[in-house]
Amino acid sequence: MTGQPDTAATEPVIPDHFQAPHPAKGTTRVLPGFKITLGLTLFYLSAIVIIPLIALVARPWEHGWQGFQFVLTDTRVLHALHLSFITALAAAVVNAVAGLAVAWVLTRYNFPGRKLLDALIDLPFALPTAVAGIALSSLYASNGWIGSITEPLGLKIAYTPIGIFLALTFIGLPFVVRSVQPVLAEFEAEVEEAAETLGATDFQTAFRVILPALMPSLVTGFSLALARGVGEYGSVIFIAGNMPYVSEIAPLLIVIKLQEFDYAGAASVGVIMLAMSLAILLVLNITQRFFANVGSAK
């Protein structure tokens, strides 16, 4: 049609200036810069996380193993560690249950004020912890709104471990809610309906169908709340009363040791907390992987 001879159409014509495309080099990913981003990731993690942790682990040894052992066996230290981990654990457990319920209500029901309530969840994140601490202690002190009611009934909250537990509960709630909420929102209504048509009661649907699907995110929220609770300082010290052997938490003990210029002692407590936290997070990670693996290709 363009006036070319018929024979030209039978053979492929390759123009002289034609060049074969470059062969692909290395990995052929859509997004470039794997090496740059990996380098940045390693640098960032080292600078922000790994190097400070190494510095912490290197610090306690100026009095040798004996100095470390001395701190480790100090009953005041042991008591503070015990208190910190137990209250954080209790608060995380309560938050796992209550946070699940809150996430459920916020995703499953529509009611006036839902958006406002949803925004309120983040408040413990956003609030300076000291502000929260002051608010809580004034509320639960013997002359506070709640404290003045409970104390005549024999329940002393401020300046006791119960106060610490309350502060940690306040701090930990958003972690559970925000972990569970998106998973719950994406849960297909049809799966629940299928369970119902198969004869499951609401209770059976909740515990056999919905809860197992939520488990990985619930464990994530629980471990975040626990980790935050163990290290929490600002909101606790106001309500705790900080009596040695009664309501003194481990992070406070570190501050006290620092004020006494006992840097090695402070670092020792820090290293012990680090080891315990790592162990707990490891266990939770394994638990979570177990739940996440169930139902996905191995």
Binding site: E188, E190, A194, T197, G199, A200, S296
Partner: protein, 344 residues
């Protein structure tokens, strides 16, 4: 009659989803609810399962008022378009779910449940995959698991919501044949929702055609196919050619020829419809003047696309090797319908 649906109305916020729907199903019958998306067929299925309640109307099954029963007690097996399998359970656990959640008094023993699961795995031809998780299965396999799970509770009524909607054409055809066999073996009354007319006519004993929440026609596949009651049903069941013409005493009059007419009783001008496979093409003689615009040889029939003098589009189907083989793009031909349908 085992299932009776009577005068059902269902309105979502300002939107009537179902209007005065009435139909019945005999025990063991396979009914297809056919309609385009938005015609209310899935809503109707959800009402039967008890996942929604109608505003007015009655649903009864074997004399029992279904509307008074909650979904758990209706004993319906529902298969969802999205499969809705339990992701954290194995295939076997999924199938056993309906048996395991029974109240302790009615629950079968562990070994009985295991035997039921094995029998169903065999029925769906997935004997070796009982220990797999749904995420490790293909779409067609998941759909079969969903069906087995629904059959496990020995349902009185099986409800299928576009069960093959998300699958590719070959798997669909395969599953269609297989579903027919399962229905034959179990004999359970089945209601099947689809927007695929071929699927509906292939599978069902009777078809209920829905349009914007209203029943348009109920009948056997043959009935629906050869005698569509409205222009909507005619158009929905397959390609339709349309031509202007008039009807006089039961015969359609065109320019220079006539054809037998089905439908309209009254004389007057109509948009007359005819099927691509119910028309003759010739190089001369009586017929609508048309020009060939495309010859499509793929598939079981030879298809021709034609344009009329006024720009109207037509399609015809011919057997391979018929004289239509000789027509080429650009040929001017005469198109003569063998029979036409007229709707007011």
């Amino acid at each position: 009659m085992s299932l009776i649906v009577k005068n059902i109305n269902k309105t979502f916020t300002n939107f009537p989803a179902l209007r005065d729907v009435t139909f019945e199903a005999k025990s063991g019958e396979f009914i297809a609810l056919l309609g385009p998306s938005g015609s209310g067929k899935t809503t109707l299925l959800r009402l039967l399962a008890g996942l929604d309640t109608p505003n007015t109307g009655e649903i009864s099954f074997e004399g029992e008022n279904y509307l008074k029963l909650n979904p758990r007690d209706r004993r319906v097996g529902m298969v969802f378009q999205s499969y809705a399998l339990f992701r954290h359970m194995t295939v076997a656990q999924n199938i056993a779910f309906g048996l395991n959640v029974r109240p302790v008094k009615e629950r079968s023993s562990k070994s009985e449940i295991k035997a039921t699961v094995e029998r169903l795995l065999k029925l769906i031809q997935l004997e070796d995959l009982g220990k797999r998780y749904p995420s490790q299965l293909s779409g067609g396999q998941r759909q079969r698991v969903a069906l087995a799970r629904a059959l496990a509770i020995n349902p009185r009524l099986l409800l299928l919501d576009e069960p093959f909607g998300a699958l590719d054409a070959l798997v669909r055809k395969d599953l269609r044949r297989w579903l027919k066999r399962i229905h034959h073996e179990t004999g359970v009354t089945t209601i099947f929702v689809t927007h695929d007319q071929e699927e509906a006519l292939d599978l069902a004993d009777r078809v209920v055609v829905l349009k914007s929440g209203k029943v348009e026609q109920i009948g056997t596949p043959l009935d629906i196919h050869s005698n569509p009651k409205s222009a909507f049903v005619f158009d929905f069941l397959g390609s339709a050619n349309k031509a202007q013409g008039s009807v006089k005493s039961g015969v359609a009059q065109f320019d220079g020829f006539s054809a037998p007419v089905i439908g309209a009783a009254n004389d007057g001008d109509y948009v007359l419809r005819f099927r691509p496979y119910e028309a003759q093409l010739s190089r001369g003689g009586p017929g609508l003047p048309v020009t060939v615009t495309a010859v499509l040889p793929a598939g079981s029939t030879l298809r021709l696309e034609l344009t009329g003098t006024d720009g109207a589009l037509f399609e015809t189907q011919h057997t391979h090797g018929s004289e239509a083989q000789g027509f080429q793009v650009g040929d001017t031909l005469r198109l003569k319908p063998e029979r036409v349908y007229a709707y007011a």
